[in-house]
Symmetry: C2
Subunit: 558 residues, 2 copies
């Protein structure tokens, strides 16, 4: 009844499979929030759909509902008041396991078609999703639309393409013929079946609930595993909408909707540790802070664990062609979503002697000043500032800004409140920028999540690279930028990045930023340093999610 | 200087890559120990090369040699007297790490060419290897030649083909072009580099030292990882020859030979635990007993661990077309190498009411008797018996036969000594066969490695399947056989095998056996039950061994 879905989406899959190999720019889901693409009423419809969720119960019809809970609040200061089912794990998990049966017996292409249909329906809900992401994560609307909608959908599609390509390498049935003597041929008929690893748990994060969850979610689904989705208690709605959409498609296609289920908790009574150690689980995908990721590594040893944690990202400034172009580019990376990204660049290493800019020599002070000026310039217009900065997602991040200021370092730029007319109670803060010396390593050697930037005086670019490399190896790093006009410095940076396992962006200016990672082209997190053990997306991310079981029997036609 | 090696072996690689997808019969290395294939003097040359090793030092020129050790003895009763370098790990491991540098910087194709050259040279040494495997494992010569030589080489090639296919999917360099407005295109040049996960350890086993080690060894090498090889102290020579061959090729190609090194110990002073917990390691491949495998899972948590452990394999007898054809086939599987295989079928489940054979009904007693008769028939001729049985590799296995006899069960067939004229002191024993009831589960529910077979009375085939399934899930299983003429029983067996994660062989008769697994076609160990977490070979076995690090920079030609 659902085999037509594979046909419907076959061309998208074909292009996605080509894209993960070619790795040039490609996207299946338009990133522009335009009525011409999504329908003239899409924006208003999405806003209405979001508003209809407020102050009400999010019904999912899952087995084992014991009551209702939920404590999300919008960083924009509006009440949400959405409640979600509180689940009895002793009912829900067996139901999810039960659902695995028929789902895993569906063929690879049928599962693929259904997963692509779910993504396609999520795409149609992108404006609703944008509102949900904006009011849980604090992202500005444009970013919430892109990162929460089409970019997340592209990441999900990418994982499906990787998994489908591997699974489709395995033939269903072959004839094995071996000549064992001049007159005797042995013929066996062999069949191969893809079986799922088992029940999986996807743990979402508070800042990019869909973008970070979709790769694991769709990689698990397409390989036949049932998935329990556990959102961050502060960003439930985007994943609840996702689960609702998936369950709807499963029902329509005649599958048990419990292939995908949602478990919600509140910060005052977290359930993730309890859930993650349940013996029913075989796979966990985690995105979030290193502390909890490390706890999982130590305590959820019965599962195949995929982690995308955090790290300390670095910029190495050596020399530039155009000081202002560099500063403007970094200012945007510094300011975007108030640095609440695992790809935020926290540490900007600058030689104490300054840097070369074209034929001029620019002293350290002036480099630091240029960066501050560029941030000020970017955020001058309050409306633009609000769009770029978004809101501070968590009270903890607000407190961290204060803590960083108090810890020390010379103030380059204070973090300031920015007001938004439409949302007077929104928590908006501009970046805090501090000047420190290499010797002040305790200040900058750990992740300071949020709008906190260190401009660090070093003895030269070799020193900068050595520091960045050590931090990456010890604390992890997800991205590095280098600005250098000299080939030998670029080569040294590339060599250091290779040995630290960090992707490197060189001399970015204009509208492309170090904290962006594009599906189908950029591998996000390398797995080669403590920032995580998994990549969005490569074969290592999908291959361990399924197994191959074979049967062989003598051929009747021998 | 070694780029010609990829060209030299390109056609073999092309065929291997086709074979892992097509999965019909294919082999790169001839399994027939024939002078016409390997050269008329190959057999004598191999024997001489082996004999020249005896009573002497096996020189490897590794850094950190502190002395000499070795305690191998031939199960055929001849002295070996070979000593190997005793290594200072504090010198050797840094040297191995050091060697990773230039090896990982070699391109994918250069590494692949070198690995294929190593395999090709190992193939030319297959007769020498056959002697080495025979006199350490106790396998008969023909089996030692095939399993220790060409079949092991095929498994290594298979791993190379899987890894090469994945790595070659990643482009070296792409141009990424995104239209960001009607007039503006952003162009980035991106490069992707394959980097190894890190230093790897391959732990060999005592019965199939090369066959079980080559997949991990070559998967690690081709993905750029240096490898420390740690053989079982009772089966060092086959892997020492392997390491010697590899080091010779590395030297010739201008690479540091410490890309592959050997660490040897003696049973009285084992070093594997110490080695496996060294922080320098990033990958461990282990083949061997479940006890040590489980210890590694619990203690070597800093590494990516691939295990091929052991399990309890089952035969389900329901109905046959030809009783004798079934019994003859099983008799060979029971007897081959005295059951010292992880694919040995230990438990033969037979309904108490007996089985259908054609139109007749055969009682339990008669089924059991037919199996015993078939084993007796196979082993009637002492010379053939010796070839099939080989020797008992370990004193522990000898003791286990006595223990099994003492534990209980009705004796169907006693284990007897078999004498070999050429080797009067060889430890040769025929299979012990015991009749037990399903209620005697403590007797047959754990692996009894060696020539110990239980014929188990059940209440019917559903009961047999339920028992086999539970054992597989609790203790692991690597292979199952079912004999059934009824379609519904075959379907139930297939369904049980799928849910227990065990490959199933149906109604095998003639020269193809349940305990065989052919490279390029049969997945060995599924990873889907406690018998191991890895498969020879699939993408999950190779993908986690390397990472991809990218660099992006604005295109100059924008």
């Amino acid at each position: 009844m659902s085999s037509h879905l594979f046909e419907r989406h076959a061309e998208t899959l074909r292009q996605a499979v080509a894209a993960i190999h070619e790795r040039g720019y490609w996207s299946a889901f338009p990133e522009v929030p335009s009525g011409k693409i999504y329908g003239e009423s899409a924006k208003a419809d999405g806003a209405r759909a979001f508003e209809s969720r407020l102050e009400s119960r999010f019904e999912l019809d899952q087995p084992g509902c014991e009551g209702w809970l939920g404590s999300e609040t919008s960083p924009y200061g509006i009440p949400l008041g959405i409640s979600y089912p509180s689940m009895d794990l002793n009912v829900l998990l067996p139901a999810a396991q039960q659902a695995t049966g028929s789902w895993s017996r569906a063929g690879v292409n049928e599962r693929t078609g259904i997963c692509l249909e779910i993504l396609s329906r999520l795409n149609r809900r992108s404006f609703e999703m944008a509102n949900a992401v904006m009011h849980t994560t604090g992202q500005g609307f444009a970013m919430a639309f892109q990162a929460g909608g089409p970019h997340a959908q592209d990441r999900g599609l990418e994982a499906i393409a990787y998994a489908w390509r591997l699974m489709s390498h395995v033939p269903d049935r072959v004839s094995w013929e071996k000549q064992i003597s001049k007159t005797h041929v042995v013929r066996l008929e062999k069949t191969y079946r893809i079986v799922p690893r088992g029940l999986s748990l996807v743990i979402g994060c508070s800042t990019f609930p869909t973008w970070n969850a979709y790769p694991g979610l769709f990689a698990n689904l397409v390989t036949g595993n049932a998935v329990v989705v556990k959102p961050s208690p502060t960003a439930v709605l985007p994943l609840a909408i996702t689960v609702e959409t998936a369950r709807e498609v499963f029902r329509e296609c005649g599958f048990d909707p419990n292939v995908v289920t949602l478990v919600v908790d509140e910060p005052k009574a977290p359930v993730t540790k309890q859930l993650a150690t349940r013996p029913e689980l075989s796979i966990i995908d985690f995105t979030g802070g290193s502390d909890f990721g490390t706890w999982l590594e130590q305590n959820a040893r019965h599962v195949q664990l995929f982690t995308e944690k955090s790290g300390v990202n670095s910029v190495i400034l050596d020399s530039v062609e155009d000081l202002r172009a560099m500063a403007d580019n970094l200012a945007f990376s510094i300011s975007l979503y108030s640095g609440q990204m695992c790809t935020k660049v926290q540490n900007i290493f600058v030689p104490c002697e300054g840097i070369a800019a074209g034929s001029a020599r620019i002293g350290f002070e002036q480099v630091a000043h240029s960066l501050v000026e560029a941030v000020d310039r970017l955020l001058e217009d309050p409306s633009r500032a609000a769009d770029v900065l978004g809101c501070i997602q968590s009270e903890k991040t607000l407190a961290r800004i204060t803590e960083a200021r108090a810890n020390g370092g010379a103030l380059l730029r204070a973090s300031e409140s920015v007001s938004i007319e439409k949302y007077p109670r929104a928590r908006v803060r501009s970046p805090l920028m501090l000047r420190v010396r290499a010797e002040d390593e305790p200040l900058f050697s750990r992740e300071m999540f949020g709008p906190i930037i260190y401009v660090i005086e070093t003895h030269g670019s070799a020193h900068s690279l050595a520091l960045a490399k050590r931090l990456a190896r010890e604390r992890g790093a997800i991205t590095w930028a280098v600005y250098a006009t000299r080939k030998e410095v670029l080569a040294e940076a590339e060599s250091a990045a290779l040995s630290a396992g960090v992707p490197l962006s060189c001399n970015l200016t204009g509208p492309v930023w170090v904290n962006q990672a594009a599906a189908f082209s950029d591998y996000h997190v390398t797995g080669a340093n403590p920032a995580g053990n998994a990549t969005f997306c490569d074969e290592a991310f999908v291959a361990p999610r399924f197994r191959i079981i074979q049967t062989r029997r003598p051929s009747r036609t021998a």
